[in-house]
Symmetry: C2
DNA sequence: CTTTTGATATGATCCAGATCATACTAACCT
DNA sequence: AGGTTAGTATGATCTGGATCATATCAAAAG
């Protein structure tokens, strides 16, 4: 059992370092796969989706970030470009801080720096888990694992049903499956009594 | 173009903090998926393979670590358990340091701490890349990307042929494909002039 | 040199999940 | 209420890569 560690930086502290707020409409692209990174980003309100789009326009969702979570950090540290694009999944507000200021902030503050190291470690764990799933298991196992991770990631209790705020399409794009396959798999899980569907919404 | 940043800790420094050397035979398991972490590990000689084994005994290789590289860090930071097992891929020597000492070392030394943050960021990038590949592309694309990453990761020049020190089976286990598929794909790449095969060895 | 072992090679068959097509449902808007 | 849209549902068909089977090759070991 792993407790939820939320590693966001205090908004007032960010503002003191010169951070600014920005609001975007659903669908707005904050940055693209391949771009260089200039800012540290943190979600204040709404949801940010980080994803790759392949040749044929199919999406792979690397992660969905909610209020309090930061996103797009790797390039700030390793100097490379973004491995995925960031898109506002609904209207949302973010706070961002210039890269140089962010790095200085870390240098001045061990606790915050260590917090980021922890965040990266957790992300790495999620990615290890999902790539294992995608490469070794079938739809049922993949979807089950994703749903479990989803619950764990938002501090929901393992043993009781929670409403899953993901569309079938999103689940598909996070597990490397097609919508139809996810829909069929979820129905199958319902038939087996592993989850509930109510007005199309999934409770797991 | 990304330059290779090697983020290992100086061996003498590790020894000063109480680290110890250990030698293992090919096949020795250093720790298992699910175990709790007690040590920081760094390869001195040989290769360490981190992998998951699924229900039917199929392997997924999360990474292969060579001299100078550290491995199995995430659980040291986030307090969770290992997401994969570590196995000596050939006879090898590693140096390890107790978790508490390692964390104190980071606390005392910003440069080293930041180096780890960078390492985690690079690993995260590799995983983002591979999970995108595995979920969105076919064998040809996946193998090509893996080979490119392999070269980049060891500072080989993009434009000239380098010998790839990976078996077809390893390539399969890193890309979520079967040996036969990898063999056929590599032949196909040879026919298309994208690589050379000499006595079974791949030059890319 | 011969044997053994681990890796590469290649054809034949099969099947889970993708793809295609079409319909239904829920929620929101005016 | 009717209309619009985004998401869910379900059947029919197709196919790329898995699986199975068997052969060959290369290097190490005896």
């Amino acid at each position: 059992m792993q407790k939820q560690v939320n590693c966001d930086i205090d908004v007032d502290l960010l503002l003191a370092w010169g951070a600014t707020f920005h609001t975007y409409q659903r669908g707005h692209v904050l940055f693209c796969e391949g771009d260089l990174a200039h800012f540290y980003y943190q979600v204040v309100e709404g949801k940010i989706k980080m994803c790759n789009t392949n040749d044929e326009g199919r999406e792979f969702i690397q992660g969905i970030f909610e209020p309090g979570e930061s996103f797009g950090e790797p390039p700030l540290f390793d100097g490379g470009s973004y491995p995925a694009s960031a898109v506002a999944d609904e209207q949302c507000t973010i706070i961002r801080l210039r890269k140089e200021n962010f790095l200085q902030l870390l240098k001045d503050n061990f606790e915050i720096h260590f917090c980021f190291t922890q965040t990266l470690a957790r992300r790495l764990r999620y990615k290890s888990l999902m790539s294992k799933e995608i490469s070794s298991y079938g739809p049922l196992h993949r979807v089950t694992t994703l749903l479990q991770e989803y619950k764990k990631g938002r501090g929901m209790k393992e043993n009781e049903l929670s409403k899953i705020e993901l569309t079938r399409q999103q689940i598909a794009d996070m597990t490397g499956l097609r919508v139809e396959t996810v829909i069929r798999t979820i129905r199958q899980m319902q038939d087996a009594g592993n989850l509930k569907i109510e007005k199309g919404k999934v409770y797991f």
